[in-house]
């Protein structure tokens, strides 16, 4: 199965700065890659999806890139706010049936 790696160390960042998270995968290249946000004690919430033929996707202050050559996705939170503090999960779908494989997530802590 796919191995999905995300930074295990928490990312501490000052309010207003840009947070950049990395998701690396091995083996096959998925048709698309997703990013979810998870708050403590709650289920993941979908943020963005990027397809293999898309280099970049944006939604408000969020930006995702997808490099199938490097087998890597970068997730950016610009002008970060304390409310952005959460764990961010990267997920890949091996065969487009929605059977997502998740990374362990990276915790982001934004301080005022």
């Amino acid at each position: 199965s796919q191995k999905i790696e995300q930074n295990s160390e928490a990312l501490n960042i000052q309010e207003g700065k840009t947070a950049t998270l990395t998701c690396n995968y091995t083996n096959y290249s998925p048709a698309y890659l997703q990013w979810y946000r998870q708050d403590p004690g709650r289920g993941p919430v979908f943020l963005l999806l990027i397809r293999e033929n898309e280099k970049e996707k944006r939604k408000e202050r969020l930006k995702v890139t997808f490099d199938t050559t490097l087998k890597q996705s970068l997730f950016h939170i610009t002008a970060s706010q304390p409310a952005d503090s959460a764990t961010y999960l990267c997920a890949l779908d091996p065969d487009s049936w929605g059977k997502l494989q998740f990374g362990a997530g990276t915790q982001v802590v934004v301080t005022p």
């Binding site: 199965s1 999905i4 997703q34 004690g41 709650r42 059977k99 997502l100 998740f102």
Partner: protein
């Protein structure tokens, strides 16, 4: 819409006991999923269903069973609970009708401890 609801929120089981985790969605989604999340680990797929009457195994199905008799409900059955099944269980659903297939909506989770 309530979205995806799960019951119970918390449960403690003794080794060898059985229980059913309930999951209901009111979005008329075709696809439903069960994941488990262990501390510091990514979510792992247990079972999934693409419609009523159709289920299939995910990555970690051993020790679990599912059924899908209606579009709305997708219960997960634990038989003979073991400490290794201590985890947080999430149910999710997605439309499964084309372009919007890809987004999954998650329930709040059930925290299960087996002692």
């Amino acid at each position: 819409n309530a979205g995806v609801t799960q019951t119970p929120k918390f449960r403690i089981l003794k080794i060898g006991q059985s229980m059913t985790l309930q999951c209901t969605q009111d979005m008329n989604h075709n696809y439903m999923y069960w994941y488990r999340q262990d501390p510091g680990m990514g979510l792992k797929l247990i079972y999934y269903s693409v419609g009523a009457g159709i289920t299939d195994k995910g990555e970690v199905p051993n020790g679990y069973n599912v059924s899908r008799s209606t579009t709305e409900d997708f219960p997960l059955r634990l038989e003979l609970a073991a400490p290794s099944q201590t985890s947080v269980y999430f149910c999710a659903s997605s439309p499964g009708n084309g372009e919007s297939t890809d987004t999954q909506y998650f329930g709040p989770g059930t925290r299960l401890t087996v002692l």
